[in-house]
């Protein structure tokens, strides 16, 4: 036998194949994460050129930062609004497209198309349509409603960024729901119909439970995704008016790259990491619990 047995060669190929991903994870994920932790313990102003160890000072500042609290509230509203509107609309569209109708492929294409429009292009178009004299208010005026200046009011600005984001991406969840709906066995419906169940009962008692793994999956993907929404905020509202749409990642960007507080920015990064990691781990746990449903 030579030294290079099949087993040994196999091991070598295995290591070689995972090497790029593994090195990448070390250099671009784990080492930077450790650096974020280290930076967060320092006062570091890039413009002033100061770098000074201050222990947990940044974390105390985090707890006392009124703006951060407002930013967390905005983040929570944004995530909640996004998930509720996105999932209910995605489910409605999927149910409509799952009817035996001619032309559903066309509608599916239309509902999906914003996913493919470049994000900033989409946001710019909506920015124009949401101006006081823009198309949205033009349409409202057609029904006799005097529309607000959408991007300048606290609540309306938040509603606007949520709606713009939902219309852009709801097509993705719609497609996932559609695939799930098509996986529900038709005989179940037949049997329930014979028992005299109405359409609503069929929907709540059969459809919803059977597609619940997809609902869970999409809701977590959507929440975690909402924490990474940056371009839409930067283009539409720059976090304003006031801090009403300053979601966490936008606040991070402001602190680190506009005010040049790298140390404090890193502290906010740590907070963002904790939230994302907690939600993702929660998803894994719940999926394991639900795995029986996932055939």
């Amino acid at each position: 036998m030579t030294f290079w047995t099949y087993r040994r060669r196999d091991n070598l190929v295995g290591y070689l194949f995972v090497a790029p991903a593994l090195l990448g994870s070390l250099v671009f994920v784990l080492v930077p994460l450790a650096m974020v932790g280290w930076y967060s313990l320092n006062e570091w102003n890039v413009l002033g050129g100061t770098f000074e160890f201050i222990g947990a000072e940044n974390y105390r500042r985090l707890l006392e930062d009124e703006k951060l609290r407002e930013s967390l509230v905005a983040t929570a509203w944004f995530a909640a609004g996004l998930v509720v509107l996105n999932l209910s609309l995605a489910l409605l569209l999927a149910v409509l497209l799952n009817q035996k109708l001619r032309g559903t492929t066309l509608f599916r294409t239309l509902f999906f198309s914003p996913v493919l429009v470049s994000l900033v292009a989409w946001t710019l178009v909506w920015q124009l349509m949401l101006q006081p004299e823009g198309s949205v208010n033009g349409l409202l005026g057609f029904f006799g409603v005097d529309g607000p200046n959408w991007l300048r009011g606290d609540t309306t600005a938040m509603v606007s960024v949520v709606v713009v984001q939902v219309v852009k991406n709801v097509g993705l969840n719609m497609v996932l729901f559609l695939a799930a709906l098509q996986g529900v066995p038709a005989p179940l419906y037949e049997a329930a119909k014979i028992d005299g169940a109405g359409a609503w009962t069929l929907f709540t008692r059969i459809t919803i439970p059977l597609i619940s793994p997809t609902i869970l999956l999409t809701s977590i993907i959507t929440i975690v995704g909402s924490l990474q929404v940056f371009a839409q905020i930067a283009v539409l509202t720059q976090g304003g008016p006031g801090t009403s749409t300053t979601v966490l990642i936008y606040y991070l960007y402001q602190q680190a790259f506009q005010f040049h507080h790298f140390g404090y920015g890193a502290t906010i990064s740590v907070l963002l990491f904790v939230i994302v990691a907690a939600l993702t781990l929660l998803q894994w746990r719940m999926r394991r619990k639900w795995v029986l449903h996932e055939s």
């Binding site: 060669r9 196999d10 091991n11 190929v13 295995g14 194949f17 995972v18 991903a21 593994l22 990448g24 994870s25 070390l26 250099v27 671009f28 994920v29 930077p32 994460l33 650096m35 974020v36 569209l93 409509l96 009817q99 109708l101 294409t109 239309l110 509902f111 198309s113 914003p114 493919l116 429009v117 470049s118 994000l119 900033v120 292009a121 710019l124 178009v125 909506w126 124009l128 349509m129 198309s135 033009g138 709606v163 219309v167 497609v175 996932l176 695939a179 999956l217 990474q228 940056f230 371009a231 930067a234 990642i249 991070l252 960007y253 790298f262 890193a266 990064s269 963002l272 994302v276 993702t280």
Partner: protein, 277 residues
């Protein structure tokens, strides 16, 4: 029964058409308004009173838009190809090859799912700055290919390769193929649907990237499209809306056309991603 049925159909079509408005109108409005004279941007008319293409010339006069288009396109293509290669190899090795330390290494790679690249933007910026690589495209290419954004792709590829029947590989081994040969000639061709899904979402992710370009890039000839779109302002800093719309149209329409032509593969590819990922 049939009258009831057709009434229901009319209701459904009506509902679908109304729901379509916010999805279709913005794109329609973007394309038509980019050809309206500036005074008509806020008019209610669905079509321009006279068609003008001068905004399109202005786009290229104000910025190196062709160069920026090329930047976005080549970065997205390189990132997509790189991600497919890295993810296919790692996904295959984690799924089909047994080697010591495999599970521990997989966990190390998976941590990328917990750490989105936004979290590490500060140290990554410092890293590339100290290497003199800010205002180059390197950070926009190597971080997505090797860093956190690639991990989901690895996960999807692994899930796919796990489901591959072992008999296929055994047969190939009988025929004298080595591991690399099995991967290249047997496994990879079968993985086309998963690779397609990975390619689609990687391309879109790179094409839409905004935070990283505005952090790393500083001169217009290096800009990518999303960043360039926001730079069309007049000498007072006010946005030149019709020029923005012309640029936005040129950014969006080619992708939309490709989508409409290949929409079945697109949508089913992505549905596949979601179910597995």
């Amino acid at each position: 029964m049939s009258r009831d049925g057709s009434k229901r159909k009319i209701w459904l079509y009506g509902l679908l058409c109304v729901l379509c408005v916010p999805f279709v109108f913005p794109t329609w409005w973007m394309v038509t308004s980019s050809m309206k004279p500036i005074g008509e941007i806020f008019s209610e008319s669905l079509l321009p009173s006279e068609w003008t293409f001068s905004t399109y010339e202005t786009v290229f006069r104000m910025q190196p838009f062709g160069q920026q288009y090329w930047n976005s396109l080549y970065i997205a293509v390189v990132v997509t190809a790189g991600t497919m290669a890295v993810a296919a190899m790692a996904g295959y090795a984690f799924a089909r090859i047994r080697f010591p330390g495999q599970n521990a290494l997989f966990v190390v790679v998976l941590t990328g799912l917990l750490i989105p690249s936004e979290v590490t933007i500060v140290p990554l910026f410092r890293m590339f700055q100290s290497l003199g690589l800010t205002n180059t495209h390197w950070p926009l290419v190597i971080v997505p290919v090797f860093g956190a954004p690639c991990v989901l792709a690895i996960f999807i590829m692994r899930q796919f390769f796990l489901a591959l029947p072992a008999e296929l590989e055994e047969a190939a081994r009988m025929d004298g193929l080595g591991r690399a040969g099995i991967f290249w000639q047997v496994a990879l061709p079968l993985a086309r649907p998963a690779l397609g899904a990975v390619a689609i979402f990687t391309f879109l992710h790179s094409w839409n990237l905004y935070l990283e370009p505005i952090v790393y890039l500083s001169t217009p000839d290096m800009f990518t499209l999303p960043q360039a779109l926001t730079q069309f302002v007049d000498i007072y800093g006010g946005p030149m809306w019709n020029v923005q719309l012309a640029a936005a149209t040129m950014t969006a329409v080619p992708i939309l056309v490709v989508f409409v032509v290949a929409q079945r593969q697109f949508i089913e590819g992505l549905a596949h991603t979601g179910v597995k990922g």
